[in-house]
C-alpha cells in the first residue's frame, strides 16, 4: 500500500473484486452440495472482517499526516469510492429502500437530499477546505475565526452529530450479525467493534481509506445483484433502474383494485375502531388501567379454573406483568398502540402521488415538510465533518474538485437503485402476497416474522391476507428481497455482508472524526500545543478506543429512538457548521464573534425545536409538559430549517454590528480562494 500511483492500485482492486465474485460462486456451489446457511453466514462475516483487518494492518502508520489525512496522496477516484462507503451508512443501505416502499414519493426527499448535498460540497466547500489543507473542520474554523472558542464550539458540534450516528452504525452491525450469523446481539456488537477498530486504530485515515475502498466494492455488488436478478425475473431486463417505471405502472393498477376491495375497507375500519378504543382508555386514565388489570386477572382465574392449557395462562400472566405501572407509562404505551392501529386503519397512499391526502391544507402541509426535509438533508450532507474531512486527503485542489464528482457517481449507483427495490418489492407483495390464504404464506413471511420484522394479524378473521393486515419494518424490504425472489441463501449472505460493509465503513470514518476532534483539536491545539508527534498519536489512539467502547456499550442497550436521532444529526450538523463554513469562505466581513454566536444560536434553535416538538416529557430529568405545536407544522426531523436560518441571520447581524476582521484574517480568506497564490 506504500505505492499510491493509480495504475497498480486499480489492478489490486480489480483482482480483489474478481476474487470476491469467485468466493461468492464458490459458496454458491458449496450451498448446492448442502452447506448449511449458518456456515455461509459465518464465512461472509469472518472473511470480510479478516479482509478489512488485513488492509488495516498493511496500512498501519506512525506518521501524523498519514494518520489524520492519509498523507494527502489519495487519488480522486479512490477518494470518491472511500467517500461513498464513508457516506452510505446502514440507513442508506437497509433503510432507504424500505422508506421508499412505505412512503412512495415522499421518500424521494432522501434520494434527492443525500445526493444534492454534494452539489453544495463541490461548489461551496471542498476546494476551499483542501486549499486550506489542515486536518479537521474545527481547524478551519479556528484559522478563519481566530481563537479557541470557534474551535471548541466546532468540536462540540462534531461530537454531538457524529456520536449518535456512530452508535446507530454499531447498532446496525449488531442487528446484522445477530440475524444472519445467529450471534447474540451484544456479542455481534463487539465482533463488529473489533472489525472497526483493527483498521482505524492501527492506520488511522490511511487504513480507513483503503478499507473503505474495499468496502465500497462489496456493498455496491451486494446492493445491485439481488434487485437485478429480480428485475430480470419480472421484466426480462436485468437493469432495474430502467425497468422499474413500467413495474410501478402495474403497481398503480394493483393499488386501485386493492385499496377499494371490500375486505380491505372492512379491515381498515376494524383497525380504526381499535385505535378509538385505545383513545378512550387514554382519556379515562387512571381508572382504565385498573380496569384492564382486573379484566386480565378475571380471565386468568377463569382459565385456571377451567383446566385450560398452562401456555395460555402463562401468556395472559405475561400480558398482565407487562402492563404499564403508572398512568404516565400507560399513556405513552397506549398512545403508541393507538398510533399503530390508526396507521394500519388509514387509507393507504398511492406510490406515485406527491403530497397525498385529502384537502389542499393536507397537501400543502406535506409539501412544506417535504421541501424542508430536503433542505435539511442537503445542508446537513454538506456539513457532516466525517464527509468534509475526506477532501483533505486528496493531493490537490484540482483533485478535490474531481473527487466530489467521483464520490457522487459512486453514491448514485446505490441511490438510483433504491427506488427500484421499493418498486419491485411492492409489485411482488401486491400481486402475490396480498389476497393469499393465511395458511399458505411464503416462507420469508414467517422467518422474518419470528424476529418481529413482519407482522400479520387477521383482524377480520376471513383467513385471507389483506394489505391492511400486513405490517413491515422498513429494513426488511432490502434484507428479504433475495428470499422474495426465491434466490439461494448465498445471495442473502451477500446482502448481509454488504450491509455490514456499509455500517463498518461509516463507523470507521465517524470514529476517526470524533477521535481527531478530541485529540487534535482539544488535546494538541488547546490543551498541550507542544506535545510530541508520537505522544499525539498515542492520545488519539487511546481516545479512539475509549469512544468506540463507549459507542458500543450505548448500542448494546438497543436504544429505541436511535434511527430517529440519526435524522436529527443532519439538522444539527447543518445548523452548526454550514453557515459558518460557507460565510467563512464567501464573506470576508464575517467576524469571529458573529461566527461563534451564529453556530451556538443555530445549534440551540435546532435543539430547542427538536426537543419540544418531538418529546413531551424527559422523565429522567423530571421535566414534563414541554411539548409544543410545531411552527408551520414542520416536523422535528426538519428542525434544521429554523437552525440554519437562525445561524445565517445571527452571523450576518452580529458581524455587521462589530468591527471588520483584521487584515490578517482577510488575507487568510484570500489565500483560501486561490488554489495556488503568489504567482500573480
Amino acid at each position: 500500500m506504500a505505492d499510491y500511483t493509480t495504475v497498480p492500485l486499480r489492478r489490486y482492486y480489480a483482482y480483489y473484486t474478481a476474487s470476491f465474485f469467485l468466493f461468492i460462486l464458490g459458496l454458491g456451489v458449496l450451498e448446492r452440495h448442502g452447506m448449511p446457511p449458518r456456515w455461509i453466514g459465518y464465512s461472509f462475516l469472518f472473511l470480510t472482517i479478516f479482509l478489512y483487518a488485513t488492509i488495516g494492518v498493511l496500512a498501519r502508520t506512525a506518521s501524523v499526516s498519514e494518520y489524520y489525512v492519509a498523507g494527502r496522496r489519495v487519488p480522486a477516484v479512490f477518494n470518491g469510492m472511500a467517500t461513498g462507503a464513508d457516506w452510505m451508512s446502514s440507513a442508506s443501505f437497509m433503510g432507504l429502500a424500505g422508506t421508499l416502499y412505505l412512503s412512495g414519493y415522499q421518500g424521494l426527499a432522501y434520494v434527492m437530499g443525500w445526493t444534492g448535498g454534494y452539489v453544495l460540497v463541490a461548489l461551496l466547500l471542498a476546494p476551499y477546505l483542501r486549499r486550506f489543507g489542515q486536518y479537521t473542520i474545527p481547524d478551519f474554523l479556528a484559522a478563519r475565526y481566530g481563537g479557541h472558542l470557534a474551535r471548541l464550539v466546532g468540536v462540540f458540534a462534531t461530537i454531538l452529530a457524529s456520536f449518535v450516528y456512530v452508535v446507530a452504525q454499531i447498532y446496525g452491525v449488531g442487528l446484522i450479525t445477530s440475524r444472519f450469523v445467529g450471534l447474540q446481539f451484544e456479542v455481534g456488537v463487539f465482533v463488529g467493534l473489533a472489525g472497526i477498530l483493527v483498521c482505524s486504530f492501527l492506520g488511522g485515515m490511511r487504513a480507513v481509506t483503503w478499507t473503505q475502498v474495499a468496502q465500497y466494492a462489496i456493498l455496491i455488488v451486494a446492493y445491485l445483484v439481488p434487485v437485478s436478478i429480480l428485475s430480470y425475473q419480472v421484466t426480462g431486463i436485468p437493469v432495474p433502474q430502467l425497468t422499474y417505471g413500467q413495474v410501478l405502472q402495474k403497481v398503480q393498477g394493483l393499488e386501485e383494485a386493492i385499496f377499494a376491495n371490500p375486505a380491505e375497507v372492512d379491515a381498515r375500519r376494524l383497525f380504526r375502531e381499535r385505535a378509538d378504543r385505545y383513545y378512550e382508555r387514554i382519556l379515562t386514565l387512571p381508572e382504565s388501567l385498573d380496569e384492564e388489570r382486573r379484566g386480565l386477572t378475571a380471565r386468568i382465574n377463569a382459565l385456571k379454573s377451567s383446566n385450560a392449557q398452562m401456555r395460555e395462562v402463562a401468556a395472559l400472566e405475561r400480558q398482565r406483568r407487562d402492563l404499564p405501572t403508572s398512568s404516565d407509562d400507560a399513556r405513552s404505551y397506549w398512545d403508541g398502540l393507538m398510533r399503530q392501529a390508526g396507521q394500519r386503519g388509514a387509507e393507504p397512499d398511492h406510490h406515485l402521488t406527491p403530497y397525498p391526502g385529502k384537502g389542499k391544507v393536507v397537501n400543502d402541509g406535506a409539501r412544506l415538510n417535504f421541501l424542508s426535509l430536503l433542505f435539511c438533508l442537503m445542508v446537513g450532507t454538506a456539513a457532516l465533518p466525517h464527509v468534509l474531512m475526506r477532501y483533505y486527503t486528496t493531493p490537490s485542489v484540482r483533485e478535490a474538485r474531481t473527487s466530489v464528482f467521483w464520490s457522487l457517481l459512486f453514491i448514485l449507483a446505490l441511490y438510483l437503485t433504491a427506488p427500484a427495490y421499493a418498486a419491485f418489492a411492492k409489485y411482488e407483495i401486491y400481486s402475490h402476497l396480498v389476497g393469499s390464504s393465511m395458511d399458505q404464506l411464503p416462507l420469508w413471511v414467517s422467518s422474518w416474522g419470528k424476529i418481529g420484522m413482519v407482522s400479520i394479524e387477521d383482524i377480520n378473521g376471513d383467513g385471507i391476507l389483506q394489505l391492511a393486515e400486513l405490517s413491515l419494518n422498513p429494513d426488511v424490504i432490502l434484507l428479504a428481497t433475495p428470499e422474495i425472489a426465491g434466490l439461494p441463501y448465498v445471495i442473502s449472505g451477500l446482502v448481509a455482508a454488504g450491509a455490514l460493509a456499509a455500517a463498518l465503513s461509516t463507523a470507521d470514518g465517524l470514529l476517526l472524526t470524533i477521535a481527531s476532534a478530541l485529540s487534535h483539536d482539544v488535546y494538541y491545539k488547546v490543551y498541550r500545543p507542544n506535545a510530541s508527534t508520537q505522544w499525539r498519536l498515542v492520545v488519539s489512539k487511546s481516545l479512539l478506543l475509549v469512544v468506540a467502547v463507549l459507542a458500543a456499550s450505548v448500542a448494546s442497550q438497543k436504544p429505541a429512538t436511535i434511527l430517529f436521532m440519526v435524522a436529527w444529526a443532519f439538522s444539527l450538523a447543518g445548523s452548526a457548521f454550514f453557515p459558518a463554513l460557507m460565510l467563512g469562505v464567501f464573506w470576508k466581513r464575517a467576524t469571529s464573534t458573529g461566527a461563534v454566536s451564529g453556530m451556538v444560536i443555530g445549534l440551540l434553535v435546532t435543539l430547542y425545536y427538536m426537543v419540544r416538538v418531538h418529546l413531551h416529557a424527559i422523565p429522567w430529568l423530571g421535566i414534563h409538559g414541554i411539548g409544543m405545536e410545531p411552527w408551520l407544522g414542520i416536523q422535528s426531523t426538519a428542525a434544521g430549517v429554523w437552525g440554519v436560518g437562525a445561524g445565517f441571520l445571527t452571523i450576518i447581524v452580529v458581524s455587521l454590528l462589530g468591527r471588520p476582521p483584521s487584515q490578517e484574517t482577510q488575507d487568510f480568506v484570500e489565500s483560501v480562494r486561490y488554489p495556488q497564490s503568489g504567482r500573480w
Binding site: 463541490a122 493531493p395 490537490s396 457517481l409 484570500e670 500573480w680
Partner: protein, 89 residues
C-alpha cells in the same frame, strides 16, 4: 497580499459560475418538487415527471453540475496560472 485585477477577475468568474450552477440546483430540487402535483400529467419512462425528477432526473443533474464545475474551474486555474497540479507540491 493585495488583490490584483487578475485575481479579482478569477474570483468573479468563479462566483458567477457557482451562482448559475446553484440556480440550476435549486430549480431541479426545490422548484420541480414544489410543482410535483401539477407535473403528474406529464410522464417520462412511464413515471410522472415529478416522481421521475426526484428519483433519477435531479440526481443525474447534480452529477452533471459537479462534473461541469470541476472541469470549468480546473480550466480556469490553468488559464490564470493558479493551477496546483496533481499534487507534486
Amino acid at each position: 497580499m493585495r488583490h490584483g485585477r487578475k485575481q479579482q477577475d478569477y474570483w468573479r468568474r468563479n462566483l458567477r459560475m457557482t451562482a448559475s450552477l446553484l440556480v440550476i440546483w435549486f430549480g431541479v430540487s426545490f422548484v420541480v418538487s414544489y410543482f410535483a402535483r401539477d407535473l403528474a400529467e406529464i410522464t417520462l419512462f412511464g413515471l410522472p415527471l415529478g416522481f421521475y425528477m426526484g428519483a433519477q432526473g435531479a440526481p443525474v443533474v447534480y452529477l452533471l453540475i459537479v462534473w461541469w464545475y470541476a472541469r470549468y474551474m480546473n480550466h480556469l486555474d490553468r488559464e490564470y496560472g493558479v493551477d496546483d497540479g496533481d499534487g507534486e507540491k
